[in-house]
């Protein structure tokens, strides 16, 4: 089984546990962002990071089977399904006459349904030979939806249609959420795969990428406190990741400067 060439590395953190933490924390973050708009970016943004990390963890698991199309494709399908689910969750409460408090729950339900259908389709007519593809598509769709909705809610300061649409869609922030959260989900494993891939190192990069996405949103919102906190945390985790990479490498050699003239 190709692991980008490395075989299944030991799993240090159980997938469902990571997923559960991501789900619960991002839901809490969205509700806090909705009720306390002044802390939306600080708390809502921070609590969306676990959703990105959980998505990256699932990407690691499913992409280890060797998709034949590259790791980014799984991140893009995750965000594609996530965008539809997140927007459905904003509009459906208005259509069905439910209170907007149900928005995050609807996002969860719709993304689970879309993920299950797309997962089944990749298995049956398309014929992907990955045993965990259906469950992984469901998880990826869920985390894609939560990270998009989470960052956009943090930016707009709420998830009800009258706040979310002018705040996050018409400003184009949803496009930023699409690509920033997408990179946080697809990049960690894409960068770390190969021989000697370690779960811990990939997860560190996932956390760093999630924090970087939060930093981008904090800067766009001109939120000074969130910017400083996310920047400090990002630098800390990224430095830790580089240190781990250097430790795990068999040797680190620096290319010397070419001599100016022959000696």
């Amino acid at each position: 089984m190709s692991h980008g060439g490395g075989g299944h590395a030991a799993e240090l953190f159980p997938e469902n546990q990571v997923l559960g933490i991501g789900l619960v924390l991002s839901l809490i973050g969205m509700y806090i962002a909705n009720f306390l708009p002044e802390y939306a970016m600080l708390i809502g943004g921070a609590l969306t990071v676990p959703a990105c990390v959980a998505g990256a963890n699932t990407t690691r698991r499913v992409a280890a089977y060797g998709l034949g199309t590259g790791v980014p494709s799984i991140g893009m399908v995750s965000l594609g399904m996530g965008t539809l689910s997140a927007l459905a969750a904003v509009y459906l409460p208005v259509a069905m006459g439910i209170d907007s408090m149900a928005t995050p729950i609807i996002a969860v339900v719709v993304s689970l349904a879309i993920g299950a259908i797309v997962g089944k389709l990749t298995q049956n007519p398309v014929g992907m030979k990955v045993p965990i593809i259906v469950s992984s598509m469901i998880k990826l769709s869920l985390m894609g939806a939560l990270s998009i909705l989470g960052f956009c809610t943090a930016f707009a300061g709420g998830f009800s249609a009258n706040v979310f649409i002018p705040g996050a869609i018409e400003t184009g922030m949803i496009g930023l959420a699409f690509i920033a959260a997408g990179i946080a989900i697809l990049h960690p494993f894409n960068a770390c795969l190969g021989p000697n891939e370690s779960h811990r190192r990939t997860m560190y990069l996932a956390i760093a990428c999630g924090l970087l996405a939060w930093l981008v949103f904090a800067i766009s919102k001109l939120d000074a406190i969130s910017t400083v906190i996310s920047a400090v945390l990002w630098v800390a985790t990224y430095a830790m990741f580089v240190k781990m990479s250097l430790n795990d490498a068999s040797d680190v050699l620096y290319t010397p400067e070419l001599p100016k003239k022959e000696e």
Partner: protein
């Protein structure tokens, strides 16, 4: 909202998904081997290439739809939007293939040759004599280039059709229709790339025969997406 104003967008969005999926199968994609000129096609993944062409098409379609005097319910105008999407996507993919080809021929120094056919179906030039041993073709031969242009045209039409369907449902703010179309496009492009599973040279590639599977998958997933979108449009 009456039933006919729901059925038309439903058909448009479902059909758009199927067309987008079919279009991806035409695009010559070589992935990492093509980046090293050891396989035919453009040196990147299916999803990225299809998405690039699709988004350019979508932007062109949105630009046309925003012109004064364009009415979505008018079939001629809807056709114009789709065709401008097709032209936008074709320009993007045509330029990508052209620049890639310049690098392959003048930078890497290879002769474009297709591995999956002995004779180019369009120019009738022999191919197998020019393939470097140990590689599966290189560059972007004529048949791949033409196939890519057909794929881009179909992708642009599909993206434009999805955009028209969304506008027809009442997602009149271009930002919302655009974001939804992007999500929808990615879903179908990735389903197609999973059907191909890596590299494809174009319509002469044996993998092209797998296209019906991908189209069926996209039709079903697009139908589900269309139903959700219709549900969403009730709240507008």
């Amino acid at each position: 909202m009456d039933i006919s104003s729901i059925i038309l967008p439903l058909v448009e969005i479902t059909l758009a998904g199927a067309i987008i999926n079919a279009s991806v199968h035409f695009v010559p994609v070589g992935g990492a081997p093509a980046a090293m000129a050891t396989s035919t096609g453009v040196g990147t993944g299916t999803t990225q290439l299809a998405a690039g062409a699709g988004f350019t098409g979508l932007l062109a379609a949105a630009g046309m739809a925003a012109q004064p005097g364009i009415i979505i319910s008018n079939p001629v105008h809807a056709l114009l939007i789709m065709l401008s999407g097709a032209v936008g996507a074709m320009i993007m993919l045509g330029l990508t293939m052209l620049i890639g080809q310049l690098i392959y021929v003048y930078g890497v120094g290879i002769v474009p040759a297709a591995d999956k056919c002995d004779v180019d179906p369009i120019t009738k030039d022999p191919q197998s004599a020019f393939i470097t041993p140990g590689t599966t073709g290189h560059g972007i031969p004529t048949v791949c280039f033409v196939s890519g242009l057909i794929g881009a045209a179909l992708g642009g039409i599909g993206g434009g059709m999805a955009y028209v369907g969304l506008l027809g449902l009442g997602f009149t703010i271009p930002a919302i229709a655009g974001v939804l179309a992007v999500g929808f496009f990615f879903m179908n492009a990735v389903l197609a790339s999973y059907n191909i599973g890596g590299t494809i040279e174009g319509f002469h590639d044996p993998k092209f025969k797998k296209m019906p599977n991908g189209v069926i998958a996209s039709t079903v997933s697009s139908l589900v997406a269309a139903l959700i979108l219709i549900g969403m449009s009730m709240g507008l």
